[in-house]
């Protein structure tokens, strides 16, 4: 009986370009990508942190590096990745506590994560990079 049930034709949609990932899905994959990118850039960030603290001379080096427009743009991107990972992570902690696990609530909270993380990125970016 079980075999018959499995062999029955079921509708399939594996046309990947036409499958739209819902916002919580985009949040999820960005959570992973942001973590991976931040991991890959750890040596650069540690180096920058070291330069900024070691001596007045190395502080000047760190300042010179981070005053470059392209570097500022990259740092702004990293601030966003960090803030996304931070906000999405808090959402996951709440989901772990079974808060907001209904579909509507989960969709809404994913919108909140994007809004808050982008707002924080703008505020912190303006404060630190301008």
């Amino acid at each position: 009986m079980a075999d018959i049930a499995i062999k029955k034709k079921r509708p399939k949609n594996l046309d990947l370009p036409t499958i739209r990932l819902p916002l919580p899905g985009i949040l999820s994959i960005l959570h992973r990508i942001s973590g991976a990118v931040l991991f890959l850039l750890l040596p650069v960030l540690l180096w920058l942190f070291q330069q900024s603290l070691a001596s007045p001379e190395t502080y000047a080096v760190a300042k010179a590096v981070t005053s470059n427009f392209l570097v500022k743009l990259i740092l702004l991107g990293l601030i966003w990745l960090y803030m996304h990972h931070f906000c999405a992570g808090i959402r996951y902690l709440l989901l772990d506590l079974h808060k907001g696990i209904e579909l509507e609530a989960a969709r809404f909270s994913s919108k909140v994560v994007f809004a808050v993380s982008i707002a924080l990125t703008v505020i912190i970016g303006a404060k630190v990079l301008l």
């Binding site: 973590g35 991991f39 070291q50 902690l93």
Partner: protein
């Protein structure tokens, strides 16, 4: 009901908890740092350095780094387990990741202990 056959040890619960505990430590540190930076607006080397040479912040920053590297270990290991199927390559990537993170921990200690 899930009937799991219990053999051996390690179902990932320890890592699951560690991932969340380290995340909480980092979240709290992030808020402390943002408030500190917002309040002090350090614009010179002395002001910047004094934030991290303060005993409490030095301790918290080191705690942040250790939490970060532990958290990264769990997350990156999950990525290798999800996407890298050949066992040998996966093992090499895991060892390289662990080695890098242990090295970073030493590096972070060196940065902070000189302050």
């Amino acid at each position: 009901m899930i009937n799991r056959i219990v053999v051996g040890a390690g179902y990932g619960l320890k890592d699951w908890i560690a991932q969340r505990a380290t995340a909480l430590v980092m979240a709290v540190y992030t808020l402390i740092l943002l408030v500190t930076l917002g309040a002090l607006s350090p614009s010179s080397f002395e002001a910047w350095r004094s934030i991290f040479s303060n005993g409490f912040m030095q301790f918290m920053t080191f705690l942040f780094f250790i939490s970060l590297f532990w958290h990264v270990w769990i997350g990156i290991r999950d990525i290798w387990m999800d996407y890298v199927k050949p066992d040998g390559l996966r093992l090499v990537l895991m060892i390289a990741t662990a080695a890098a993170l242990i090295g970073y921990a030493g590096w972070a200690a060196k940065i902070l202990w000189r302050l």
